[in-house]
């Protein structure tokens, strides 16, 4: 250290060049070192600060937590940190002024470490960094990760939730309904004769139909608790809590007619000559290993068997009866 000091650099020059605030105080809290960074951000020159009690150097008050921390370092000789999260701006330091804008307080991260003077006196070194740039960086990373998270749970074609999101949500919704013993309805929805539509009109037109149906189904939902996801190719699934069986059936009819009313021509659809959907619903209060999804799938199969463009609704307990038939 002494080699650098005497042969290569003037230490004052280094202190004043460094991009960090440095203040050293003696055991009584009197300022011994006040670098240019601090002078610039506090608008207080070194000459006005030296040998003054740190608390009195600033025109504004210094936060009590800072004074406690400094005192603690000087007494116990253990290093202390003050985080931005819990203190924001303990010292009256300011960001560089911007044209036509009032100066703003700088967010700071502070470390106070015990040091000894050449006379072996107990002193404290205060290091201050501007934390606004790291906060900004974190924010950017976070917003990127949120975009990625959204992409990971959204279906690229329809912009509704994807299968991955549904699987996780379904598990939580069932667990919730079990715990709170409330109704849960699962709607399995399939576009009728979709393969024939693709063959007739081409895949691009097919994709367009999937998008339009997804948008229409989604538009029927109004509660935050309800979610719709693309389950597979032309299949959708809806999860809705708190609906008794009758209300779920009314809602299914609303979904069916909304898609029917789109009146998208489909000349290969044997009966209706337009795009229709079939819906299988299962409503119940799940217990143990009850599988609403399987029951809804069975109901959808029945709706297809019975002529499509309709819904079939099963209560959770009805599946055995159906299987016995």
């Amino acid at each position: 250290m002494s080699k650098i000091d005497t042969k290569h650099f003037d230490m004052d020059n280094i202190f004043n060049t460094i991009n960090l605030g440095l203040i050293a105080v003696d055991a009584e809290g009197k300022v011994l070192l006040w670098n240019d960074w601090i002078a610039k951000h506090s608008n207080i020159q070194e000459a006005d600060a030296l040998n003054q009690s740190l608390e009195n150097v600033f025109a504004e008050t210094v936060s009590p937590a800072f004074l406690t921390a400094l005192n603690s370092t000087l007494t116990h000789r253990l290093p202390v940190v003050l985080s931005t999260a819990l203190h924001r701006s303990p010292l009256p330091l300011y960001n560089p002024p911007k044209i036509n804008q009032p100066q703003t307080r700088m967010y700071q991260s502070i470390a106070i470490t015990p040091i000894r003077s050449q006379q072996n006196e107990s002193c404290g070194l205060i290091q201050i960094t501007d934390s606004s740039s790291s906060i900004k960086r974190e924010k950017i990373l976070r917003s990127h990760s949120e975009i990625l998270k959204k992409e990971a749970t959204t279906d690229g074609l329809t912009d509704i939730c994807n299968r991955r999101f549904f699987d996780a949500h379904y598990e939580m919704a069932v667990a919730d309904a079990k715990r709170q013993k409330h109704y849960l309805s699962i709607f399995m929805i399939d576009i009728d004769f979709f393969k024939l539509y693709n063959d007739q009109y081409g895949h691009l037109a097919g994709d367009e139909v999937i998008k339009q149906v997804a948008r229409t189904l989604k538009a029927q939902l109004s509660r935050a608790t309800d979610i719709i996801a693309r389950y597979g190719g032309e299949e959708f699934v809806l999860v809705m809590p708190y609906l008794p069986k009758k209300t779920a059936e009314q809602f299914a009819e609303k979904l069916r007619s909304a898609v029917f009313n789109l009146a998208i021509p489909h000349i290969k659809s044997p009966l209706f000559k337009q795009i229709t959907i079939s819906i299988g619903i299962c409503t119940g209060i799940p217990e143990n290993d009850d599988n609403l999804l399987n029951t809804a799938d069975t109901a959808l199969y029945q709706a297809k068997q019975k002529g499509r463009n309709q819904f079939i609704s099963l209560a959770l307990c009805e599946i055995e009866e159906y299987l016995e038939q």
């Binding site: 603690s72 000789r77 253990l78 290093p79 202390v80 940190v81 985080s83 999260a85």
Partner: protein, 208 residues
């Protein structure tokens, strides 16, 4: 190990309880609400006998560890351990929950360093005051790791075969959190600690 008696453990529990009180006071000042910290038990174990149960590392999630190296009459690596979820909740309570957990993560690292620093410094400074010696310390460091990684870290240094474990209860507002404070000690550090405790206990004895 044989040299370490129940009496020594009682004395340490007493010392750390005073430290915990100091830490609680500092934290209360920051939070602006009552903070209570207690040290229900202190244990000394061989590093090789450490298992997930002794450190409540049985959770499958990740753990936050604040560490500082202390040196003086005895040297110790100190680690304060919380589950990461608990760590985030503590910080959110301390910040007055003006932020969502996602936003909190931005500040987690630094704020946990500060929280750990307050608790570690308070425990060590009360020890230094009562046992009458001076300790130095590095600045705190915060890492997030799995239980396995933490156990590996505690066991890897064979020059520190002893582990002093403090179980810590922290209550901020209505939330109770349990964590562990772990000191890794070398054989000579443990011997020095015992010597200082003996002097302290001897002093008390003489005064009586």
């Amino acid at each position: 190990m044989r040299q370490f008696s129940e009496l020594h453990l009682d004395a340490l529990t007493e010392i750390f309880s005073i430290g915990a009180g100091r830490a609680a006071l500092s934290l209360s000042e920051i939070v602006g609400d009552e903070v209570r910290i207690s040290v229900p038990s202190v244990q000394i174990i061989n590093a090789e006998d450490i298992n997930p149960v002794t450190l409540s590392l049985t959770d499958t999630g990740r753990f936050g560890a604040v560490s500082q190296h202390f040196s003086g009459p005895f040297n110790a690596e100190a680690l304060l351990l919380f589950t990461e979820d608990q760590a985030l909740k503590i910080i959110s309570d301390m910040m007055g929950s003006q932020m969502s957990n996602e936003e909190l993560a931005e500040f987690e690292h630094e704020a946990m360093c500060e929280l750990g620093n307050i608790i570690l410094n308070a425990c060590l400074s009360s020890m230094a005051d009562i046992l009458n010696f001076v300790l130095e310390s590095s600045l705190p460091d915060y890492t997030v790791a799995s239980a396995e990684e933490i156990l590996h870290r505690l066991k890897k240094d064979s020059s520190q075969p002893y582990v002093l474990v403090l179980h810590i209860d922290l209550a901020i507002e209505k939330r109770h959190t349990a964590g562990n404070l772990v000191f890794l000690l070398s054989t000579s550090s443990l011997t020095n600690l015992v010597t200082h405790l003996d002097q302290f206990l001897g002093n008390i004895h003489e005064q009586n």
